[in-house]
Protein backbone atom coordinates (compact mmCIF):
# COMPACT_ATOMS: atom_id res chain seq x y z
CA UNK A 1 0.00 0.00 0.00
CA UNK A 2 1.19 3.44 -0.84
CA UNK A 3 2.50 5.74 1.85
CA UNK A 4 -0.20 8.01 3.07
CA UNK A 5 -0.27 11.67 3.41
CA UNK A 6 -2.63 12.18 6.24
CA UNK A 7 -1.89 15.58 7.69
CA UNK A 8 -4.11 15.50 10.69
CA UNK A 9 -6.24 12.83 12.23
CA UNK A 10 -8.07 14.24 15.18
CA UNK A 11 -10.87 13.07 17.33
CA UNK A 12 -12.89 16.17 17.79
CA UNK A 13 -16.31 15.26 19.02
CA UNK A 14 -18.09 12.43 20.68
CA UNK A 15 -21.62 13.40 19.79
CA UNK A 16 -23.29 14.53 16.65
CA UNK A 17 -23.97 18.07 15.86
CA UNK A 18 -27.24 18.84 14.19
CA UNK A 19 -27.39 16.78 11.02
CA UNK A 20 -26.56 19.08 8.19
CA UNK A 21 -24.38 18.21 5.25
CA UNK A 22 -24.86 14.75 3.84
CA UNK A 23 -23.07 12.18 1.76
CA UNK A 24 -24.59 11.48 -1.58
CA UNK A 25 -27.26 14.15 -2.01
CA UNK A 26 -28.20 14.99 -5.57
CA UNK A 27 -28.73 18.59 -4.56
CA UNK A 28 -27.72 20.77 -1.65
CA UNK A 29 -29.02 24.21 -0.82
CA UNK A 30 -26.89 27.30 -0.36
CA UNK A 31 -26.36 26.42 3.30
CA UNK A 32 -25.00 22.98 2.44
CA UNK A 33 -28.16 21.22 3.52
CA UNK A 34 -29.19 18.30 1.33
CA UNK A 35 -32.40 18.90 -0.57
CA UNK A 36 -34.96 16.45 0.77
CA UNK A 37 -38.67 15.93 1.19
CA UNK A 38 -39.60 17.76 4.42
CA UNK A 39 -40.62 15.87 7.54
CA UNK A 40 -44.13 17.27 7.10
CA UNK A 41 -44.37 15.39 3.79
CA UNK A 42 -44.03 12.00 5.51
CA UNK A 43 -45.35 9.58 4.60
CA UNK A 44 -44.78 10.63 1.01
CA UNK A 45 -47.90 9.64 -0.91
CA UNK A 46 -47.65 8.10 -4.35
CA UNK A 47 -50.53 7.41 -6.69
CA UNK A 48 -50.51 4.47 -9.05
CA UNK A 49 -51.67 4.22 -12.64
CA UNK A 50 -54.92 2.32 -13.21
CA UNK A 51 -53.49 0.34 -16.10
CA UNK A 52 -51.32 -2.71 -16.49
CA UNK A 53 -47.54 -2.81 -16.82
CA UNK A 54 -47.05 -4.94 -19.90
CA UNK A 55 -47.69 -8.54 -18.89
CA UNK A 56 -48.03 -7.59 -15.22
CA UNK A 57 -51.49 -6.92 -13.88
CA UNK A 58 -52.10 -3.63 -12.15
CA UNK A 59 -51.88 -5.26 -8.74
CA UNK A 60 -48.67 -7.08 -9.65
CA UNK A 61 -47.09 -3.85 -10.87
CA UNK A 62 -48.33 -1.97 -7.82
CA UNK A 63 -46.73 -4.60 -5.61
CA UNK A 64 -43.37 -3.97 -7.30
CA UNK A 65 -43.70 -0.24 -6.69
CA UNK A 66 -44.74 -0.79 -3.08
CA UNK A 67 -41.78 -3.11 -2.59
CA UNK A 68 -39.32 -0.59 -4.04
CA UNK A 69 -40.50 2.22 -1.80
CA UNK A 70 -40.60 -0.14 1.18
CA UNK A 71 -36.94 -0.98 0.61
CA UNK A 72 -35.96 2.60 1.38
CA UNK A 73 -38.52 2.89 4.15
CA UNK A 74 -37.03 -0.21 5.76
CA UNK A 75 -33.78 1.51 6.69
CA UNK A 76 -34.19 1.70 10.45
CA UNK A 77 -31.85 4.65 10.88
CA UNK A 78 -33.69 6.79 8.32
CA UNK A 79 -36.89 8.67 8.85
CA UNK A 80 -38.48 8.34 5.47
CA UNK A 81 -41.82 6.77 4.79
CA UNK A 82 -44.19 6.35 1.88
CA UNK A 83 -47.87 5.72 1.47
CA UNK A 84 -49.71 4.17 -1.43
CA UNK A 85 -52.40 6.81 -1.93
CA UNK A 86 -54.42 4.67 -4.27
CA UNK A 87 -54.96 5.02 -7.95
CA UNK A 88 -54.63 7.92 -10.32
CA UNK A 89 -57.83 9.09 -11.96
CA UNK A 90 -57.22 7.09 -15.13
CA UNK A 91 -55.18 4.57 -17.02
CA UNK A 92 -52.34 6.78 -18.24
CA UNK A 93 -51.54 6.57 -21.93
CA UNK A 94 -49.74 8.73 -24.45
CA UNK A 95 -53.03 10.52 -25.07
CA UNK A 96 -53.57 11.72 -21.50
CA UNK A 97 -50.09 11.63 -19.97
CA UNK A 98 -49.83 15.42 -19.76
CA UNK A 99 -52.76 15.45 -17.36
CA UNK A 100 -50.52 13.73 -14.83
CA UNK A 101 -47.30 15.66 -15.17
CA UNK A 102 -48.25 18.72 -13.13
CA UNK A 103 -45.86 19.37 -10.26
CA UNK A 104 -48.28 21.57 -8.37
CA UNK A 105 -51.21 19.24 -7.69
CA UNK A 106 -49.87 17.39 -4.66
CA UNK A 107 -49.82 14.07 -6.50
CA UNK A 108 -46.75 11.91 -7.05
CA UNK A 109 -47.84 9.78 -9.99
CA UNK A 110 -46.34 6.40 -10.75
CA UNK A 111 -47.15 5.78 -14.40
CA UNK A 112 -47.24 2.35 -16.03
CA UNK A 113 -46.39 2.78 -19.69
CA UNK A 114 -47.82 -0.60 -20.48
CA UNK A 115 -46.60 -0.91 -24.08
CA UNK A 116 -43.92 1.79 -24.20
CA UNK A 117 -46.22 4.08 -26.17
CA UNK A 118 -45.70 7.06 -23.86
CA UNK A 119 -41.93 6.74 -24.08
CA UNK A 120 -42.01 6.38 -27.85
CA UNK A 121 -44.18 9.45 -28.27
CA UNK A 122 -42.02 11.61 -26.01
CA UNK A 123 -38.52 10.42 -26.92
CA UNK A 124 -38.83 8.95 -30.42
CA UNK A 125 -39.83 5.73 -32.14
CA UNK A 126 -37.99 2.78 -30.64
CA UNK A 127 -37.03 4.56 -27.42
CA UNK A 128 -39.28 2.16 -25.53
CA UNK A 129 -36.78 -0.60 -26.32
CA UNK A 130 -34.04 1.33 -24.52
CA UNK A 131 -35.56 3.44 -21.76
CA UNK A 132 -36.65 1.23 -18.88
CA UNK A 133 -38.09 4.11 -16.88
CA UNK A 134 -37.29 7.19 -14.88
CA UNK A 135 -38.11 8.96 -11.65
CA UNK A 136 -37.58 12.52 -10.50
CA UNK A 137 -38.66 15.20 -8.06
CA UNK A 138 -38.84 18.96 -8.28
CA UNK A 139 -37.95 21.49 -5.60
CA UNK A 140 -39.90 24.36 -4.12
CA UNK A 141 -39.07 27.98 -4.93
CA UNK A 142 -36.38 28.13 -2.25
CA UNK A 143 -34.58 25.08 -3.60
CA UNK A 144 -34.46 23.58 -0.11
CA UNK A 145 -37.14 20.91 -0.32
CA UNK A 146 -38.65 18.60 -2.85
CA UNK A 147 -42.33 19.11 -3.39
CA UNK A 148 -43.50 16.50 -5.86
CA UNK A 149 -42.13 13.80 -8.09
CA UNK A 150 -43.04 11.64 -11.03
CA UNK A 151 -42.06 8.10 -11.94
CA UNK A 152 -42.62 6.03 -15.05
CA UNK A 153 -42.08 2.30 -15.57
CA UNK A 154 -41.89 0.83 -19.07
CA UNK A 155 -44.02 -2.31 -19.52
CA UNK A 156 -42.29 -3.10 -22.81
CA UNK A 157 -39.58 -4.79 -20.74
CA UNK A 158 -42.01 -7.39 -19.44
CA UNK A 159 -42.45 -8.63 -23.00
CA UNK A 160 -40.36 -10.38 -25.65
CA UNK A 161 -37.41 -10.31 -26.04
CA UNK A 162 -36.72 -8.89 -22.57
CA UNK A 163 -39.15 -10.81 -20.37
CA UNK A 164 -38.14 -8.97 -17.23
CA UNK A 165 -39.52 -10.37 -14.03
CA UNK A 166 -40.39 -8.41 -10.90
CA UNK A 167 -36.86 -8.88 -9.55
CA UNK A 168 -35.21 -6.87 -12.34
CA UNK A 169 -37.85 -4.16 -12.15
CA UNK A 170 -37.22 -3.94 -8.45
CA UNK A 171 -33.46 -3.72 -8.98
CA UNK A 172 -34.00 -0.86 -11.41
CA UNK A 173 -36.62 1.10 -9.55
CA UNK A 174 -35.18 0.92 -6.05
CA UNK A 175 -32.34 2.83 -7.71
CA UNK A 176 -34.64 5.26 -9.54
CA UNK A 177 -36.70 5.89 -6.42
CA UNK A 178 -33.40 6.65 -4.69
CA UNK A 179 -33.15 9.58 -7.09
CA UNK A 180 -36.78 10.43 -6.37
CA UNK A 181 -35.87 11.02 -2.70
CA UNK A 182 -32.72 12.94 -3.59
CA UNK A 183 -29.87 10.43 -3.61
CA UNK A 184 -26.93 10.75 -5.98
CA UNK A 185 -24.92 7.95 -7.57
CA UNK A 186 -21.99 6.21 -5.90
CA UNK A 187 -19.11 4.43 -7.64
CA UNK A 188 -18.07 2.00 -4.94
CA UNK A 189 -16.62 -1.34 -6.12
CA UNK A 190 -16.78 -0.44 -9.79
CA UNK A 191 -14.08 -3.06 -10.44
CA UNK A 192 -16.79 -5.72 -10.12
CA UNK A 193 -19.32 -4.18 -12.46
CA UNK A 194 -18.29 -5.68 -15.81
CA UNK A 195 -15.81 -8.36 -14.83
CA UNK A 196 -18.12 -11.16 -16.09
CA UNK A 197 -18.31 -12.52 -12.55
CA UNK A 198 -21.89 -12.46 -11.36
CA UNK A 199 -21.11 -13.55 -7.82
CA UNK A 200 -19.34 -10.36 -6.72
CA UNK A 201 -22.04 -7.95 -7.89
CA UNK A 202 -23.59 -8.23 -4.45
CA UNK A 203 -20.90 -5.76 -3.34
CA UNK A 204 -22.09 -3.08 -5.75
CA UNK A 205 -24.39 -0.52 -4.13
CA UNK A 206 -27.89 0.03 -5.44
CA UNK A 207 -27.03 3.62 -6.36
CA UNK A 208 -24.25 2.59 -8.74
CA UNK A 209 -24.79 4.45 -12.06
CA UNK A 210 -24.86 1.59 -14.54
CA UNK A 211 -26.01 -1.97 -15.02
CA UNK A 212 -23.79 -4.79 -13.74
CA UNK A 213 -23.09 -8.41 -14.63
CA UNK A 214 -26.02 -9.42 -12.43
CA UNK A 215 -28.43 -6.65 -11.52
CA UNK A 216 -30.70 -8.74 -9.35
CA UNK A 217 -28.81 -7.93 -6.17
CA UNK A 218 -29.22 -4.18 -6.77
CA UNK A 219 -32.73 -4.45 -5.40
CA UNK A 220 -31.19 -4.84 -1.95
CA UNK A 221 -29.49 -1.92 -0.28
CA UNK A 222 -25.80 -2.02 0.59
CA UNK A 223 -24.22 -0.29 3.60
CA UNK A 224 -23.32 2.78 1.51
CA UNK A 225 -26.94 3.12 0.33
CA UNK A 226 -28.26 2.83 3.87
CA UNK A 227 -25.76 5.34 5.21
CA UNK A 228 -26.56 7.77 2.40
CA UNK A 229 -30.32 7.70 2.99
CA UNK A 230 -29.66 8.08 6.72
CA UNK A 231 -27.59 11.19 6.04
CA UNK A 232 -30.47 12.71 4.09
CA UNK A 233 -33.30 11.58 6.33
CA UNK A 234 -31.82 10.83 9.77
CA UNK A 235 -34.02 9.15 12.36
CA UNK A 236 -33.90 10.33 15.98
CA UNK A 237 -30.35 11.14 16.96
CA UNK A 238 -30.07 8.30 19.46
CA UNK A 239 -31.17 5.81 16.81
CA UNK A 240 -28.54 7.03 14.36
CA UNK A 241 -25.86 7.28 17.05
CA UNK A 242 -26.46 3.71 18.07
CA UNK A 243 -25.58 2.46 14.60
CA UNK A 244 -23.22 4.94 12.99
CA UNK A 245 -20.16 7.03 13.58
CA UNK A 246 -19.59 10.08 11.43
CA UNK A 247 -16.45 10.92 9.47
CA UNK A 248 -16.14 14.54 8.57
CA UNK A 249 -13.14 15.72 6.62
CA UNK A 250 -11.42 17.82 4.05
CA UNK A 251 -9.49 16.77 0.98
CA UNK A 252 -6.59 18.95 -0.15
CA UNK A 253 -4.27 18.99 -3.11
CA UNK A 254 -0.57 18.96 -2.26
CA UNK A 255 -0.56 22.66 -2.97
CA UNK A 256 -2.80 23.11 0.05
CA UNK A 257 -5.80 24.12 -2.01
CA UNK A 258 -9.07 22.28 -1.42
CA UNK A 259 -9.64 19.35 -3.76
CA UNK A 260 -13.05 19.31 -5.37
CA UNK A 261 -14.86 16.45 -7.03
CA UNK A 262 -12.78 13.43 -5.96
CA UNK A 263 -14.27 10.31 -4.42
CA UNK A 264 -13.30 9.56 -0.82
CA UNK A 265 -13.91 5.97 0.25
CA UNK A 266 -13.70 4.61 3.80
CA UNK A 267 -12.97 0.86 3.77
CA UNK A 268 -13.79 -1.12 6.90
CA UNK A 269 -11.10 -3.57 7.97
CA UNK A 270 -12.40 -7.11 8.16
CA UNK A 271 -15.28 -6.42 5.77
CA UNK A 272 -13.43 -4.66 2.99
CA UNK A 273 -15.73 -5.50 0.12
CA UNK A 274 -19.17 -4.87 1.59
CA UNK A 275 -18.55 -2.16 4.19
CA UNK A 276 -17.35 0.70 2.04
CA UNK A 277 -18.70 4.20 2.45
CA UNK A 278 -18.08 7.14 0.20
CA UNK A 279 -18.47 10.86 -0.23
CA UNK A 280 -17.44 13.20 -3.03
CA UNK A 281 -15.16 15.99 -1.87
CA UNK A 282 -16.77 19.42 -1.88
CA UNK A 283 -20.16 17.83 -2.49
CA UNK A 284 -21.76 21.02 -1.18
CA UNK A 285 -19.92 23.06 -3.82
CA UNK A 286 -18.61 25.44 -1.20
CA UNK A 287 -15.08 25.28 -2.61
CA UNK A 288 -13.69 23.88 0.64
CA UNK A 289 -13.04 20.24 -0.29
CA UNK A 290 -15.27 19.01 2.55
CA UNK A 291 -16.64 15.49 2.64
CA UNK A 292 -18.79 13.69 5.16
CA UNK A 293 -20.07 10.18 5.64
CA UNK A 294 -21.72 7.91 8.14
CA UNK A 295 -19.94 4.62 8.83
CA UNK A 296 -20.66 1.62 10.99
CA UNK A 297 -18.30 1.23 14.00
CA UNK A 298 -14.90 -0.22 13.15
CA UNK A 299 -11.43 0.54 11.87
CA UNK A 300 -11.15 2.17 8.48
CA UNK A 301 -8.61 2.90 5.79
CA UNK A 302 -9.17 5.60 3.21
CA UNK A 303 -8.91 5.60 -0.53
CA UNK A 304 -9.17 8.72 -2.64
CA UNK A 305 -9.90 8.12 -6.30
CA UNK A 306 -10.95 10.13 -9.33
CA UNK A 307 -14.55 10.00 -10.45
CA UNK A 308 -14.80 7.47 -13.24
CA UNK A 309 -14.49 9.61 -16.38
CA UNK A 310 -17.22 7.61 -18.04
CA UNK A 311 -19.74 8.66 -15.40
CA UNK A 312 -21.00 11.89 -16.88
CA UNK A 313 -24.41 13.26 -17.78
CA UNK A 314 -27.14 11.05 -16.40
CA UNK A 315 -24.55 8.71 -14.90
CA UNK A 316 -22.61 11.39 -13.04
CA UNK A 317 -21.24 10.95 -9.51
CA UNK A 318 -21.04 14.10 -7.42
CA UNK A 319 -21.59 17.71 -8.40
CA UNK A 320 -18.56 18.12 -10.66
CA UNK A 321 -19.12 15.40 -13.24
CA UNK A 322 -21.82 16.72 -15.55
CA UNK A 323 -19.72 16.58 -18.71
CA UNK A 324 -16.33 15.32 -19.83
CA UNK A 325 -15.06 18.84 -19.23
CA UNK A 326 -16.31 19.05 -15.65
CA UNK A 327 -13.98 19.69 -12.75
CA UNK A 328 -13.82 16.07 -11.59
CA UNK A 329 -12.08 15.16 -14.85
CA UNK A 330 -9.62 18.00 -15.22
CA UNK A 331 -6.31 16.95 -13.71
CA UNK A 332 -8.19 14.62 -11.38
CA UNK A 333 -6.95 12.99 -8.19
CA UNK A 334 -4.43 10.18 -8.39
CA UNK A 335 -5.87 7.06 -6.81
CA UNK A 336 -4.27 6.99 -3.38
CA UNK A 337 -4.56 4.43 -0.58
CA UNK A 338 -3.70 5.75 2.86
CA UNK A 339 -1.93 3.54 5.38
CA UNK A 340 -3.15 5.17 8.56
CA UNK A 341 -6.19 3.69 10.22
CA UNK A 342 -9.08 5.43 11.81
CA UNK A 343 -11.11 3.63 14.45
CA UNK A 344 -14.54 5.01 15.08
CA UNK A 345 -17.22 4.01 17.57
CA UNK A 346 -20.97 4.38 17.32
CA UNK A 347 -22.09 7.90 18.07
CA UNK A 348 -18.62 9.31 17.56
CA UNK A 349 -17.59 11.98 15.10
CA UNK A 350 -14.04 12.12 13.84
CA UNK A 351 -12.37 14.53 11.54
CA UNK A 352 -9.79 13.66 8.95
CA UNK A 353 -7.76 15.70 6.51
CA UNK A 354 -6.34 14.00 3.46
CA UNK A 355 -3.91 15.16 0.83
CA UNK A 356 -3.89 13.89 -2.72
CA UNK A 357 -1.94 14.57 -5.88
CA UNK A 358 -3.28 15.77 -9.21
CA UNK A 359 -3.01 13.42 -12.14
CA UNK A 360 -1.49 15.69 -14.75
CA UNK A 361 -2.25 13.19 -17.50
CA UNK A 362 -5.91 12.33 -17.28
CA UNK A 363 -6.49 8.59 -17.39
CA UNK A 364 -8.97 8.42 -20.24
CA UNK A 365 -7.52 8.89 -23.73
CA UNK A 366 -9.29 11.70 -25.47
CA UNK A 367 -10.38 13.64 -22.43
CA UNK A 368 -7.02 15.36 -22.19
CA UNK A 369 -7.33 16.31 -25.83
CA UNK A 370 -10.84 17.54 -25.16
CA UNK A 371 -9.51 19.72 -22.36
CA UNK A 372 -6.85 21.18 -24.60
CA UNK A 373 -9.42 21.79 -27.28
CA UNK A 374 -11.58 23.58 -24.76
CA UNK A 375 -8.71 25.72 -23.51
CA UNK A 376 -7.86 26.52 -27.09
CA UNK A 377 -11.43 27.59 -27.74
CA UNK A 378 -10.99 30.08 -24.92
CA UNK A 379 -7.81 31.37 -26.53
CA UNK A 380 -5.65 30.03 -23.72
CA UNK A 381 -3.45 27.86 -25.89
CA UNK A 382 -1.26 28.92 -28.77
CA UNK A 383 -0.15 25.50 -29.92
CA UNK A 384 -1.13 24.70 -33.47
CA UNK A 385 -3.67 21.94 -33.65
CA UNK A 386 -5.41 22.85 -30.40
Amino acid sequence: MKKLQVLVLLVLLTHYATPSCAGGPLLTDKNCNPVVFPASAMPIPYSIDQGTLGSFSNSEAAAIVDDCFATWQGVATARISFKNAGHLAADVTKDNVFTFTDYTDGINPVIFDTDGGIIDSLYGVGASDNIIGFSGSATDDTGSYYTEGLSLLNGRFTQEPYNWGPELFKATFVHEFGHFIGLDHTQINSQYVHDDNTTNDVYIPTMFPTATDNDSSLGRLNPDDEAAVTMLYPAEIQVVNAVYGRISGTLYWRSGLPARGANVVAVKQGDEEMSRFSSVSDYCMQGDGAFEMLVTPGTYNFIVEPINPFFTGGSSVGPYAGTALSLSFIFPAVTTEYEENLTIAAGETQEVQLVVRHNLLTPAPGLFALLLQFLNSLGLLQTAGY
Binding site: G124, G136, L152, G182, T312
Partner: protein, 187 residues
Protein backbone atom coordinates in the same frame (compact mmCIF):
# COMPACT_ATOMS: atom_id res chain seq x y z
CA UNK B 1 -53.62 25.71 -25.01
CA UNK B 2 -54.25 24.20 -21.61
CA UNK B 3 -51.49 21.71 -22.20
CA UNK B 4 -49.07 24.49 -23.06
CA UNK B 5 -49.83 26.30 -19.83
CA UNK B 6 -49.45 23.18 -17.76
CA UNK B 7 -46.17 22.36 -19.40
CA UNK B 8 -44.95 25.89 -18.80
CA UNK B 9 -45.60 25.43 -15.12
CA UNK B 10 -43.79 22.14 -15.19
CA UNK B 11 -40.75 23.67 -16.81
CA UNK B 12 -40.54 26.36 -14.14
CA UNK B 13 -40.93 23.79 -11.41
CA UNK B 14 -38.21 21.64 -12.91
CA UNK B 15 -35.51 24.24 -12.69
CA UNK B 16 -33.82 22.08 -10.11
CA UNK B 17 -34.70 18.50 -9.53
CA UNK B 18 -33.55 15.08 -8.57
CA UNK B 19 -33.98 12.72 -11.43
CA UNK B 20 -32.65 9.69 -13.17
CA UNK B 21 -33.42 7.28 -15.96
CA UNK B 22 -32.64 3.63 -16.45
CA UNK B 23 -31.46 2.90 -19.98
CA UNK B 24 -30.62 -0.43 -21.56
CA UNK B 25 -27.07 -0.79 -22.81
CA UNK B 26 -26.66 -0.91 -26.60
CA UNK B 27 -23.69 -1.89 -28.71
CA UNK B 28 -22.86 0.02 -31.88
CA UNK B 29 -24.86 -2.34 -34.03
CA UNK B 30 -27.89 -1.69 -31.84
CA UNK B 31 -27.34 2.05 -31.99
CA UNK B 32 -27.15 1.93 -35.80
CA UNK B 33 -30.20 -0.28 -36.10
CA UNK B 34 -32.33 1.79 -33.74
CA UNK B 35 -31.39 5.22 -35.05
CA UNK B 36 -33.44 6.84 -37.78
CA UNK B 37 -30.82 9.52 -38.30
CA UNK B 38 -27.06 9.36 -37.83
CA UNK B 39 -24.90 12.33 -38.65
CA UNK B 40 -21.73 14.19 -37.81
CA UNK B 41 -22.27 17.86 -37.19
CA UNK B 42 -22.35 20.82 -34.87
CA UNK B 43 -25.23 22.41 -32.98
CA UNK B 44 -25.86 25.87 -34.41
CA UNK B 45 -28.98 27.00 -32.56
CA UNK B 46 -31.26 26.14 -29.66
CA UNK B 47 -34.81 27.42 -29.51
CA UNK B 48 -37.75 26.93 -27.21
CA UNK B 49 -41.03 26.34 -28.99
CA UNK B 50 -43.98 25.70 -26.65
CA UNK B 51 -43.30 22.25 -25.24
CA UNK B 52 -40.25 21.56 -27.36
CA UNK B 53 -36.58 22.30 -27.22
CA UNK B 54 -35.52 22.63 -30.83
CA UNK B 55 -31.89 22.04 -31.72
CA UNK B 56 -30.56 22.78 -35.18
CA UNK B 57 -27.36 21.09 -36.33
CA UNK B 58 -25.20 21.84 -39.32
CA UNK B 59 -24.63 18.35 -40.71
CA UNK B 60 -21.12 17.83 -42.01
CA UNK B 61 -21.97 14.32 -43.10
CA UNK B 62 -25.15 12.29 -42.99
CA UNK B 63 -24.61 8.59 -42.36
CA UNK B 64 -28.25 7.52 -42.13
CA UNK B 65 -31.59 9.21 -42.66
CA UNK B 66 -31.19 11.42 -45.72
CA UNK B 67 -28.72 13.88 -47.13
CA UNK B 68 -29.73 17.22 -45.66
CA UNK B 69 -27.27 19.97 -44.73
CA UNK B 70 -29.12 20.63 -41.51
CA UNK B 71 -30.80 18.37 -38.98
CA UNK B 72 -33.50 19.54 -36.59
CA UNK B 73 -33.96 17.72 -33.30
CA UNK B 74 -37.16 18.42 -31.36
CA UNK B 75 -36.99 17.14 -27.81
CA UNK B 76 -39.91 17.34 -25.41
CA UNK B 77 -38.73 19.79 -22.80
CA UNK B 78 -40.25 18.34 -19.66
CA UNK B 79 -39.70 14.73 -20.71
CA UNK B 80 -36.05 15.47 -21.40
CA UNK B 81 -35.58 16.92 -17.97
CA UNK B 82 -37.40 14.08 -16.21
CA UNK B 83 -35.03 11.60 -17.78
CA UNK B 84 -31.90 13.73 -17.73
CA UNK B 85 -31.56 13.46 -21.50
CA UNK B 86 -28.47 14.99 -23.15
CA UNK B 87 -28.49 18.70 -23.92
CA UNK B 88 -26.59 20.62 -26.54
CA UNK B 89 -25.18 24.10 -26.65
CA UNK B 90 -25.02 26.13 -29.83
CA UNK B 91 -21.45 26.38 -31.08
CA UNK B 92 -20.36 23.53 -28.84
CA UNK B 93 -17.89 20.93 -30.05
CA UNK B 94 -18.78 18.66 -32.92
CA UNK B 95 -20.85 15.57 -32.25
CA UNK B 96 -21.73 12.37 -33.99
CA UNK B 97 -25.37 11.79 -33.16
CA UNK B 98 -27.66 8.80 -33.30
CA UNK B 99 -31.31 9.92 -33.15
CA UNK B 100 -34.51 7.94 -32.86
CA UNK B 101 -37.01 8.38 -35.71
CA UNK B 102 -39.44 11.17 -34.83
CA UNK B 103 -42.57 10.18 -32.98
CA UNK B 104 -46.08 11.01 -34.10
CA UNK B 105 -45.81 14.10 -31.90
CA UNK B 106 -42.64 15.12 -33.72
CA UNK B 107 -40.25 14.39 -30.84
CA UNK B 108 -36.96 12.56 -30.85
CA UNK B 109 -33.87 12.20 -28.67
CA UNK B 110 -30.43 10.58 -28.83
CA UNK B 111 -30.58 6.78 -28.87
CA UNK B 112 -29.85 5.46 -25.39
CA UNK B 113 -29.44 9.09 -24.30
CA UNK B 114 -25.69 9.60 -23.67
CA UNK B 115 -24.84 6.35 -25.45
CA UNK B 116 -25.87 7.86 -28.77
CA UNK B 117 -23.95 11.12 -28.38
CA UNK B 118 -20.31 10.91 -29.46
CA UNK B 119 -18.22 13.97 -28.83
CA UNK B 120 -15.77 14.60 -31.63
CA UNK B 121 -12.40 15.63 -30.20
CA UNK B 122 -9.26 16.84 -31.89
CA UNK B 123 -6.11 15.04 -30.74
CA UNK B 124 -2.56 16.37 -30.69
CA UNK B 125 -1.75 15.65 -34.32
CA UNK B 126 -4.98 17.18 -35.50
CA UNK B 127 -6.62 13.77 -35.77
CA UNK B 128 -10.25 13.64 -34.67
CA UNK B 129 -11.41 11.03 -32.19
CA UNK B 130 -14.86 10.19 -30.82
CA UNK B 131 -16.20 8.93 -27.50
CA UNK B 132 -19.65 8.75 -25.94
CA UNK B 133 -20.47 9.41 -22.29
CA UNK B 134 -19.38 5.89 -21.41
CA UNK B 135 -16.00 6.34 -23.07
CA UNK B 136 -17.14 3.81 -25.71
CA UNK B 137 -17.15 1.19 -22.99
CA UNK B 138 -18.65 -2.11 -24.26
CA UNK B 139 -19.57 -0.45 -27.53
CA UNK B 140 -18.62 -3.55 -29.48
CA UNK B 141 -19.82 -6.14 -27.00
CA UNK B 142 -21.45 -9.05 -28.79
CA UNK B 143 -20.58 -7.76 -32.27
CA UNK B 144 -18.97 -9.85 -34.98
CA UNK B 145 -16.10 -7.48 -35.71
CA UNK B 146 -14.78 -9.68 -38.50
CA UNK B 147 -17.98 -8.97 -40.40
CA UNK B 148 -17.61 -5.19 -40.29
CA UNK B 149 -13.84 -4.64 -40.26
CA UNK B 150 -12.11 -7.83 -41.41
CA UNK B 151 -8.41 -8.41 -41.13
CA UNK B 152 -6.32 -5.33 -40.61
CA UNK B 153 -8.90 -2.84 -41.84
CA UNK B 154 -9.83 -0.16 -39.31
CA UNK B 155 -6.97 -1.09 -36.94
CA UNK B 156 -7.94 1.48 -34.32
CA UNK B 157 -11.42 0.02 -34.10
CA UNK B 158 -10.04 -3.49 -33.70
CA UNK B 159 -7.73 -2.35 -30.91
CA UNK B 160 -10.58 -0.64 -29.13
CA UNK B 161 -12.81 -3.67 -29.47
CA UNK B 162 -10.10 -5.73 -27.81
CA UNK B 163 -9.57 -3.14 -25.08
CA UNK B 164 -13.29 -2.76 -24.56
CA UNK B 165 -13.08 0.98 -24.12
CA UNK B 166 -11.32 4.14 -25.28
CA UNK B 167 -11.59 6.91 -27.87
CA UNK B 168 -11.86 5.94 -31.54
CA UNK B 169 -10.53 7.55 -34.68
CA UNK B 170 -13.31 9.61 -36.15
CA UNK B 171 -12.83 8.54 -39.76
CA UNK B 172 -12.56 4.87 -38.85
CA UNK B 173 -15.66 5.14 -36.71
CA UNK B 174 -17.69 6.66 -39.53
CA UNK B 175 -16.45 3.97 -41.89
CA UNK B 176 -17.47 1.30 -39.39
CA UNK B 177 -20.94 2.85 -39.09
CA UNK B 178 -21.20 2.84 -42.86
CA UNK B 179 -20.26 -0.85 -42.93
CA UNK B 180 -22.79 -1.71 -40.24
CA UNK B 181 -25.58 0.11 -42.05
CA UNK B 182 -24.60 -1.64 -45.28
CA UNK B 183 -24.76 -4.98 -43.49
CA UNK B 184 -21.04 -5.69 -43.36
CA UNK B 185 -18.09 -5.86 -45.74
CA UNK B 186 -18.84 -7.83 -48.88
CA UNK B 187 -16.49 -10.82 -49.18
Amino acid sequence: MKRCIITGIIICALCSQAHGAAVRELNLEGLCRTAGTIFWGRCTSVETQDEALVYTFAAHRMLKGGSADTVTLRMHKAASMYARAPRFIAGQEEVLLFLYPESSLGYSSPVGFGQGVFNVMTASGGEKTVANERGNSRLFKGMDMEKFCPGSTLPGIRQCSLRGTGALRHQEFMELIRQIIAGGVKP
